[in-house]
Structure formats: structure tokens, C-alpha cells
Symmetry: C2
Subunit: 149 residues, 2 copies
Amino acid sequence: MTVDPLAHPTSDDVAARLRSRGLRVTGPRLTVYRTLARLGGHRSADQVAAAVAGDGPGLPRTSVYNALKALADAGLVAAVDAGPGTALYEVHGHSHHHFLCRRCEALLDVPAATPVQDLLGLQLPGAVIESAQVVLRGVCPQCAGTPAS
Amino acid sequence: MTVDPLAHPTSDDVAARLRSRGLRVTGPRLTVYRTLARLGGHRSADQVAAAVAGDGPGLPRTSVYNALKALADAGLVAAVDAGPGTALYEVHGHSHHHFLCRRCEALLDVPAATPVQDLLGLQLPGAVIESAQVVLRGVCPQCAGTPAS
DNA sequence: GTGAGTGCAAACGATTTGCACGGTG
DNA sequence: CACCGTGCAAATCGTTTGCACTCAC
């Protein structure tokens, strides 16, 4: 299943993709997706719900979870695990990785300069690799900013 | 004490490392570590607690969490995020990555053939990268059924 | 002896579930 | 019209917290 890595699919794209997976096109799904795309970056289900609420009629948390799960299944958004009890979502754009600062808890993007996926895929003959999630941990430039003189 | 970075640390190593971090050497910590090492692979806090219980006097969950956190801080065990509400731990051995099968939920090890960490480190000038966690997702060879496709 | 670590009980919070209603196809 | 998806309420479950006791150092 090849997924065209569009940076920001339009509402029509969302609708088309949902349909192609046998999923229905509904308000919450479009709203959640567009909100996530507008916010950009990595957002929690709660952040999405808050943004949606501040943007109009709002949406119950359950529906946000439902929509996010459906969108994730459809391959339109990607889930990032940044620890237990913390699921973050982002629009499934170009490939990149993540850096989690141990000190300030910031989650930074790291450009994917190398086809990590292809490299590692060679190690598992027979497996179908659909995505690669890389999480680096350490101290971010800002927190390290105070040079250990 | 010489610490072999590629071998599983002995109880003495555990004690030494804990001490070197200013942490005390206690029963729960040694028990949890040795149990995790004996079980091998990736284990949840609950699995460790169960194994410890079946192996003698047992240990309350809180203590298992305490010990795992202390061991993780000491760098003796590594935490792997395999989804929200699921923290897995493993003895901090040689560097390797993980593959999570979408179908059977199996978590497989992937040999670290390439210095992913070094490669990506170049993308974040000023950051101190302490660890790299790679989680590949897809369908494992067994679930893919036909290895030759 | 002192303070870190333990472990009991209770809180916590993100996520999930069951089910009746409403909208999509 | 049939069924998927919504959304309310409540449950669930891994994990965290507060605090008095105990043990390592």
C-alpha cells in the first residue's frame, strides 16, 4: 500500500483516502484532521480537542480519539510515542525523526537525512516495513546552551 | 571494576553502577534487575512483578516501578515505548532496534547494523544525544505468510 | 544515626468500552 | 433503509503520589 507523502492533503484528499479504506467521511474526522494540520507539529488528543473547541462548536474527547484512530488507521496521521500515557499525533508528512529532551521535555524534529528505513529493512528479510519511528533522547541545544565550562 | 559494555552486567556490576550514581544497593533493585535479565527480551513492569512473585516472596508493584526507574536512571535498563499505556523494559545490552508487527503485535529485535545515532546526531548541532530508539512498524515475516512474497 | 528507599493505600489521567441516537452512503 | 460513526457516561489500567517505616551506609 503506497501512500503518497503529501505534506498537507486537502479535505478532498482526506475524504478520498477515508473512502478508499472503506471508512466514511464524517465531520469529526475532517475537523480533527484539518485542526491537526493547522496546528502543525506534534499534538496530543487533548490539544486537538482544545483547539477544536476554541474554533467553534467543539468536539467531545471520545470523538477526537475515534477520529484520530480512524485517521491513523487510514495512514493520514502518524502516532508518536513519547512515553507512557502520552500519545502524540502529527499529519503524516515527509519522513523525519524525533528528539526528546530529557531536561525540558521538548520534542524536536530531526530531518531524515538518511534512509534509515531502507537500511534497517535489510536486517529483517521477509518483513513488510511500513514506517520507521526514531526517537533520540538527550539534552537539546537550548538546555545544553549553558556550556559546561 | 571493568565494565564490559557488550555483556550483561553481573550483580556486582549492578551494585557498582548504582553506587557510582549515588544510589543505594537494595534488594528490590537487584531482584528486579536480575529478573529482567533472566527473563530476557522486553518486559512490562507487570511481567517483572509476576515473575518475581512466582520466584519467591514477591514484590509490590510500587517497588518494581521504583526499582525500574532507578535502574533506568542508572543506565542499566532501557525503556521502550510500544504504545500509549505500555512501557517495556530490557537490560541495557548491545545497541539494537525494534520492530513492531501490526498484525500479531510481536516485538522483534533488529540488529543495529548502522550507526543511526551518529548519522542523526549531525542533524542537531549542539544537542547531546544519549540514546536512540528506533521502532519499525509493519508486518513481520511470520504474519506476512509467504516469505518469498 | 541519618537520609534514601521501601511499600501500603489512594489518587491520577489518558484511553477505552457499552450503548442509544443520528448521519452517511 | 442499513449500517457505520458519534458522543454521553462510566469503567479500565498503567503509573504516580503521599507518607510512615526500614535499612543501607
